[in-house]
Amino acid sequence: MSRRRLALAIEPYLYTAPSLLLIIAVMLVPLLTGLSYAFHDIILLDPLSGDFIGLDHFRELLDDDGFWTALRNTVTWTATSVALQFGLGLALALLLNQAFPGRGLVQALTFLPWAVPGFLSGLAWAWLFNPVIGTLPHWLHGLGLLARPENILSDPHLALWGPIVANVWWGIPFFAITLLAALQSIPQDIYEAASIDGAGPWLRFRRITLPLLAPTIAITVMLRTVWVANFAELIVVMTKGGPADATQILSSYIFSLAFQRLDFGYASAVAAVLLVLLLAYAAAVMVLRHALTEPG
């Protein structure tokens, strides 16, 4: 009996061990090394650098306009992208959850953007926004949305929308696929029972669909937020953070600090701040999710 107990006690660890060991070795240890740079004066290729400098980098941060601009842009970029990806992704999942002729084909086609590598997506959208080689400026002009058929990527007030649109395009399938998979797992008889009790479509959506999707929604929204906040590829390809830092987000800023200034120490300090902010955000979502999923 005690052997069986022991087996029961270690069972969860056996299930998690392979993932955990791999993640610790390949991600966590390099991460700790990377974070330790934040407290050192590390300039890539400079043999004289490497001194421990305590919190100097973090003090520098407080006066760094580039950092604060990037932080503001990160919030706009992340919130707008994720909200639109999620809203449209949910709508698409609900649409695809109904049977109609050709559903398989429509589903596969609407999911295709996800298969396009990020930087190729950025490039394709940068083409579309360019009035010389793309149609969007002319269409937006025709619709009266743009005064002149110009590249919004060059307008500091509009530029961030370029990468956001590309990101939404690219990310809708992510939510659509996950939510569709979750929708498919909801047993039909619950809906049937509710219908018999006289619940309309909206009530069924609010009372059945949303609560049952909640765990999936919480985890995907949280992870997606974290990824989007860290996702610099589209911005680097489409605008390089310009014009005049109008599209610089923290992760693209970190990239330019690391590989243009070669200042890995300072780049790590900015990354550490981003990490702390995202951890705080994730903790909030986890608390919320707990409250939603625990009955009573």
Binding site: L44, L45, D46, V132, E150, N151, P243, A244
Partner: protein
Amino acid sequence: MPKRAALLILALLASTPARADTTLRLVEVLSSPERTETLKELVAGYEAAHPGTHVEVTSLSWGSAFEKLATMVAAGDIPDVVEMPDRWLSLYAGNGQLEDLSAYLARWPDAQGLNERALAVARTVGDRPYMLPYGFYLRALYYNKAVFRQAGLNEPPRTLDELRADAARIAQLPGKSGYCLRGGPGGLNGWVMFGASIAGSNDFFHEDGTSTLTDPGWVAGTTWLIDLYKDGLAPRDSVNWGFNEVVAGFYTGACAMVDQDPDALIALKQRMKPEDFGVAPWPKGPNSKAYPTLGYAGWSIFKKSEHKELAWDLVVALNGPAGNLAWNKRTGALPVYTAAAHDPQYSGTIYQGWFAELADPDVVPTLMPTGLPGFAYFADSLVVRSSQQALLGQIAPLTMNKQWAAYLNKSRRKQAEGVQ
């Protein structure tokens, strides 16, 4: 029996190579498929002449070459020979990563054939040759003849005043602008060319080591370019243009003039009819002098290389007079050998713009201060951000020049203190 055994041993010995095989690692950074092909041909010739030595060619994509090589070298994964663009030289040489080539050059007969400029730029860092240049990239003015004709213009501008006047005439055509401004990545050369040509000097520093960029001449120069943009003589979205947008703008005739290097010809010829564009010397400023920028690239050997003699032989194979000519056919760069200027390769009409520049005593090819520590950050980050702010009217031209000068001053001080 012993005799047979001895014979057997002899036969075995003869069948193994005299020495162990050596592998050299060569890294190309400005890669393109055609160039890589030429590089591999040159390398094959070298391998044939050096039995037992194998060369492993790595062609990095230009878009990520800088990050990649820096990461490799920092992690101790160091190649033997590397293609070295001017911009990176101070970083690697200044941090003691590159081999001083003085001794090799001293005993190499073909070094006599190198032109003075090549010998000079090789010694950019600490007055020691840390690279052997293979070619020069001199800016000139490309102009769209078709658009010029439409605007009733017959020839390219000779002075900056004419450039502005021509641009103004072209801007009256529907959907056309005069100048393809590069406001985004890689724009610094343009700022320097206009700035120096208006200022009438290409000095970046006073004798006391402080930057000249806040002097009235330079401020007038940057203001001139900002006004060109603000007055609508360059496309409005050019504030964020990089190389591709500039070239696309020029191909399509959306803007009719652009400053470019000879190698842009390779891309241009594929997409434009030869009679529709021309290359003219860079226009002159108020003091009748012009200051087009001059870039270069070459080959360097890493100090950590374990086979330096073989590595030098490889550099010679790539960059001796014969190899160099074959190579520059692909790169489009101007020659480093005095004799090569007469090669038929450079005799076409299109190259005349550059040779006219080189022959004209009033055209002063201007080297960027790439030797300063932190130059890459200056050019790729600080200048891009502040010049975009200035073009958009968020800051005054003087403020921009002050930011640049402050960085250059700091950098110059670091250079003076630095270990060389």
